[in-house]
Symmetry: C2
Subunit: 125 residues, 2 copies
């Protein structure tokens, strides 16, 4: 389903490469029992509308599964990462790792001249 491209940059295109979606996926990745809409909203600091829109897109891509139920007579929405979603997110993270390594190498090959580094400098005393 995911086409692997020769260029690692092309592998970043798709449903995950948006900062808020990265936050959503990162949260869901560590929640095997799913998360409620409210929990996810709080953790990712998103509005209802914003989170709904992202979840709709992720559900359409079969990355998340959304279950509506009742808890103490109140409607509750729980969101789960699907197995396919987890696999694809891991592929995405691998592509990101590759792109980051490549970019860091480019920056550092040049910055050796000016003694800059990606690693934060120690705090000045």
């Amino acid at each position: 389903m995911t086409t692997k491209h020769e260029s690692p940059y092309q592998n970043l295109k798709g449903v995950f490469h948006e900062p808020n979606r990265l936050a959503i996926l990162s949260e869901l990745s560590s929640a095997s029992d799913g998360m409620t809409f409210q929990e996810l909203k709080d953790e990712c600091s998103l509005t209802d509308g914003n989170l709904s829109r992202h979840l709709k897109a992720l559900e359409d891509a079969k990355v998340v599964r959304i279950r509506k139920s009742f808890s103490k007579n109140r409607p509750q929405t729980t969101i789960y990462l699907t197995d396919k979603g987890r696999d694809r997110f891991m592929e995405y993270l691998q592509a990101l790792e590759e792109v980051l390594a490549r970019a860091a190498e480019s920056v550092q090959s040049e910055s050796r001249k000016t003694a800059m580094s990606l690693t934060p400098r120690p705090a000045r005393s």
Copy 2:
């Protein structure tokens, strides 16, 4: 100029977080003498129109400097990463590194149960 947010995901918002721009910046980072439009186009596998649009946005953000000159009586466009552009790109890469580490940790904390790993598995023999 760049506002540092508490959430690392918010630090990804901005001019760099687009796969083709990442490719452009990565190329320019290692080219202290700049790159011609044609070189950049070839390296990033972009069309004229696409590269032009990205460069316009990056120039507006003062990330690149574009110089038009003549070489062998033919017009030539050379693109340089600005100092400010390099600094901001490094900040972006640091934010990306942080997000990646956090996401990889989330994925791995769960996947220990299922023995998956971000590191590619050895090829089956």
